[in-house]
Symmetry: C2
Subunit: 105 residues, 2 copies
DNA sequence: TCTTTATTTAAGTAGCGACTTAAATAGTAA
DNA sequence: TTACTATTTAAGTCGCTACTTAAATAAAGA
């Protein structure tokens, strides 16, 4: 669960990908429709979509020769929760380590 | 408010910086104490600290020849909130744009 | 089948970011 | 002042990431 989180964090850290996520928010867009909103090449958009897909931030649906993408609606809430959990978990872990440190002098 | 958020997002996207933030959680550490926890050079740590400071994720206190750093305790909550707000704001903006689009055919 | 459309994969370039070592700054102490 | 400690700034290297164009795949229609 740590790895996918880190992936999602760096995925969402990119302004370009945040713009893409917003455009796909609440609706499906084909790769081409999405790409037409940007001044970069289609392959560049496709590559970002792959990154977002791997991070679990978008879903892909194939229909004929089109591929439709949409932001995962639970994403923001999940990311916020995941951030907090990541912190909680790590704080617990660090607390244990600190105790051990003290015991070991 | 968009710029600092983006800064915080990419700052926290780095595993190294997340580790640093965790070590400084709930306590102050001098730059040197912090650096001794990592296998990278002190300048590298110093550079990460600058990044975190610019993103508003850590505070710096100078005392003599030491500089003490600490994670900003409100950070995680803020980041989560900011993420949600960023989305809400942008969704509002996109909604307005969509309406305008429809009006303009 | 051949062509067109939608999209990805491949291969390469350029800029950025994480690191390095060396030098500079700044505070304290002798 | 000189020396020492803590830390940063400077300058350079290297790998990763965002992009590019060209080629490949895959679906659908003539």
């Amino acid at each position: 669960m740590t790895a996918p989180t880190a992936e999602a964090l760096s995925a969402i850290a990119s302004p370009r990908r945040r713009d893409m996520l917003r455009l796909m928010w609440g609706r499906e867009l084909s790769a081409g429709e999405l790409a037409s909103n940007f001044d970069i090449s289609w392959p560049a958009v496709s590559q970002h979509l792959t990154t977002l897909k791997q991070a679990g931030l978008v879903t892909e649906r194939r229909d004929g020769r089109n591929r439709y993408y949409s932001s995962d609606e639970t994403m923001v809430g999940s990311l916020a929760m995941i951030l907090e959990q990541m912190w909680d978990n790590d704080l617990d872990r660090l607390a244990s380590l600190a105790e051990e440190d003290e015991r070991n002098g």
